[in-house]
């Protein structure tokens, strides 16, 4: 007699044995610069809430107001009866902010990648990816019948060769890449990619999840950062990081939006965002347009924190963004440093082999605009104390 669901327990137990299972930590209260994790008061250095907008009074107020005016849920998918005025307003705000003709909001960033990418290329086409692209892009690519090619991380010489090779054989060519890479905090050469793509008539798609609200003037993202706003075919992003809410988005031409909403099954078949979410999304964009201090604080904090870490003797890699890796070498050292800094009141997770190379294990820190200089000094003190105890610095 077969055991219909026994595999769940055996596979889970296998993960536990190997130490690969997720041990979920509980955040008691809001995701704030200082918060309570598993009962302990800590300085948060691993959330994506870069600008602390999730706690901004205007966003909270907008969400509450929308519940009063529009209710708790949207009632349907957007193509049938769940398309609220708030959704449309939020999309108009995104296009305005990012300097594109139009924009479309998806339920999540994953839903945007997994829903749209398979519609952009099929049999006889090719999708060209940076080798370090995020898993949600990879899953989107997997759903297509297109051929795939990769280029070495940020290697424009190799991309040029791959494009030249693809130019001869394929109909559509799609270049897809992360904008900011989440392990090292480095930025893709998007200007160069757009130029190379234009030369052969290739489409470009950038996942700007860690760039939106962070890079570019006032945090307008990677297109604005490289002065090519509106030129990238698909600027994909998320409301769950710097914007402080949840949801995915794509910004580009009206053609992209018309096509995307009619073709993306994730968009067509998922319920639409509740009014509170849509209103908070809209308010997040308005706050960014009207209050430039948040992005400025984020960068001031990033520069201070990074410089101090480096002057202590830490290796912060090639980071160009508020993602600052503290690279310590062997895995056991990164784990020990993470454990010790947590004891000292800093929450940041270790990233170890095989996520990164064996000799490049690290703690990945993510800066927050809401941290004060005192908070940063306290966090730096923890890194200094733990680093010296563990003989890393």
């Amino acid at each position: 007699m077969r055991d219909p669901s026994g595999f769940m327990r055996t596979e889970y137990e296998d993960l536990v044995e190997k130490g690969f299972d997720w041990k979920l930590r509980v955040l008691e209260g809001p995701s704030a610069p200082r918060c309570k994790v598993d009962g302990k008061d800590v300085i948060m250095l691993c959330s994506n809430n870069y600008l602390n907008l999730s706690n901004h009074p205007r966003l909270k107020e907008a969400a509450k107001r929308a519940i009063d005016t529009h209710g708790a849920g949207s009632g349907s998918v957007r193509p049938i009866a769940g398309n609220l005025d708030l959704h449309i307003e939020a999309e108009k705000a995104v296009a305005r902010f990012k300097g594109t003709e139009s924009a479309l909001i998806y339920q999540t960033g994953f839903a945007a990648n997994a829903g749209l990418i398979p519609q952009l290329a099929g049999k006889g086409d090719i999708i060209i990816s940076d080798q370090l692209n995020h898993g949600s892009i990879i899953d989107g690519v997997r759903l297509t019948k297109a051929d795939r090619a990769i280029f070495a991380h940020r290697d424009m010489g190799e991309l040029e060769k791959v494009l030249a090779d693809a130019d001869k054989k394929y109909e559509k060519i799609l270049v897809v890449t992360d904008g900011v890479f989440s392990m090292d905090g480095d930025i893709q050469h998007m200007g160069e990619i757009q130029k190379l793509a234009d030369e052969v008539g290739a489409m470009t798609f950038v996942d700007d999840a860690h760039g939106e609200g962070v890079i570019g003037p006032d945090g307008r993202g990677i297109g604005a950062h490289f002065g090519i706003a509106g030129k990238i075919d698909v600027e994909m992003g998320t409301f769950s990081k710097a914007y402080g809410v949840v949801g995915g988005l794509v910004a580009g031409s009206q053609d992209l939006v018309n096509y995307g909403l009619n073709k993306s099954r994730t968009w067509l078949l998922s319920g639409s965002h509740p009014p509170a979410v849509a209103a908070a999304q809209l308010e997040a964009i308005k706050v960014l347009e009207e209050e430039p201090e948040h992005v400025k604080n984020l960068w001031d904090n990033t520069k201070y924190f990074k410089n101090e870490l480096i002057s202590m003797g830490y290796n912060c890699g090639n980071s160009e963004t508020p993602i600052t890796p503290v690279i310590v070498g062997e895995s056991h050292k990164a784990k020990a440093l993470s454990d010790r800094t947590f004891e000292l009141g800093v929450f940041a997770l270790p990233i170890v082999f095989p996520m990164v190379a064996r000799d490049a294990a690290r703690i990945r820190t993510m800066m927050n605009a809401g941290l004060t200089r005192e908070d940063l000094d306290e966090a730096l003190g923890a890194f200094e104390k733990a680093g010296k105890e563990l003989e890393i610095i």
């Binding site: 990879i138 051929d147 990769i150 280029f151 791959v162 062997e330 056991h332 095989p354």
Partner: protein
């Protein structure tokens, strides 16, 4: 505690410096020409690096080496100062040592159930070990020979130490590595050819795929080969009239497995519309098949450690055959782990003009996952 076999071919590599193509059978000549042993230094580099890695990675597992007396292992292990290692002599070689001693030691390793054999030598040594242990025990070589075409060597002694350390920590997958060596029959006839003898098991870095933001999952070598094979089978479905010539080795063999047809690991097979039309074909049969078919594709994989796609282990694919097929009709497939070991692809077709045509391309496309390719440099 991990129990590993350790065997050193003390004369490996001695022929190389004095211009010989190997050392087997010509040791006296090599010594006369002024050759000196190279193995001890290579082993020393290996053990030194291994000791450092065990310490810096805090690898708790101890190693018990089973080895041969004197210069075939014991002397090297005796002088190394790594606390977490011990050794036991399980075979005492005759004077002078010979390939037979390597084989005898390997029989002991089999009996005692070692989980890995580390050896120092070249293709000849790898072949001696493989003849005894087959695919029963994974093997990994410290490169020290004159010829090192087989896919069971680290790039240098330090790289072999990295592999052994990762194996000790349980981080590696086991996959096939080709055993290549000089074709002695041809050599006696005055020709120098490297032949594919079979596949051994060897530790490999698995391929990792991201499962969540900060988590990746290892994908086994066999699963990767299956994925690649699926791509090729889909190509066959798209082109039912095309003659597919399948080269040697286990990566290409996975295509035949996917099709559920017989295949020759060491030879070349021909397939049309997903059906085997000729097995283990020679050059003249290939030319005959090429006369019958207009559309043709050749599927090959790098064979062994040095990235050769042509000229090692697949001599049926002669210059004339390749020219008739056309370079643009060649599909190269390789699992990522193997590509990581062979950053360059090489050709040695025996026809300089043809080799030059490959070199002019500078890069060749290699399919390394399902429908996924990258450009790999072609080197000299």
């Amino acid at each position: 505690m991990a129990v590993f076999g350790f065997v050193v071919n003390p004369i490996a590599g001695m022929g190389g410096r004095v211009g010989l193509k190997g050392t087997d059978g010509v040791l006296d000549e090599a010594i006369e020409l002024g050759a000196e042993p190279v193995a001890p230094h290579r082993v020393h580099l290996f053990l030194e690096k291994l000791g450092l890695l065990i310490e810096s990675r805090r690898i708790g597992e101890r190693i018990e080496w089973l080895t041969c007396a004197g210069i075939m292992g014991e002397d090297d292990l005796d002088t190394s100062e790594i606390d977490s290692m011990t050794y036991e002599v399980v075979h005492t070689p005759a004077e002078p040592t010979a390939a037979e001693d390597t084989k005898k030691a390997c029989k002991k390793f089999l009996e005692k159930g070692v989980t890995l054999i580390v050896f120092c030598g070249g293709d000849g040594t790898a072949r001696d070990i493989w003849q005894t242990v087959g695919e029963n025990i994974p093997i990994i070589g410290i490169p020290s020979g004159v010829k090192m075409h087989s896919g069971v060597f680290g790039m240098n002694p330090e790289a072999t130490a990295e592999i052994v350390a990762a194996f000790l920590s349980g981080e590696l997958d086991i996959a096939e590595g080709e055993i290549l060596d000089l074709d002695e029959e041809k050599y006696r006839e005055g020709e120098w050819h490297i032949r594919l003898f079979g596949t051994a098991r060897t530790p490999y870095e698995p391929t990792y795929v991201q499962v969540s933001k900060v988590q990746v999952e290892a994908v086994g070598e066999d699963a990767i080969k299956e994925e690649i094979a699926e791509s090729i089978v889909e190509d066959m479905e798209d082109d039912p009239d095309t003659l597919f010539i399948l080269g040697s080795g286990s990566t290409v063999g996975a295509v035949s497995k996917e099709l559920g047809i017989e295949f020759s690991l060491l030879g070349v097979d021909a397939v049309v519309n997903k059906k085997l039309v000729a097995k283990d074909v020679n050059e003249s049969k290939l030319l005959e098949l090429l006369n019958e078919r207009k559309k043709v594709k050749l599927v090959i994989s790098p064979i062994g450690a040095q990235g050769f796609i042509l000229g090692r282990g697949n001599l049926q694919l002669s210059p004339e055959v390749i020219k008739r097929i056309g370079i643009d009709n060649i599909t190269i497939i390789s699992p990522p782990a193997k590509l990581a070991q062979t950053p360059l692809l090489r050709v040695d077709t025996g026809d300089r003009e043809l080799d030059e045509m490959f070199h002019e391309k500078q890069y060749l496309r290699v399919v390394f996952r399902y429908k996924t390719m990258k450009l790999v440099k072609i080197g000299k």
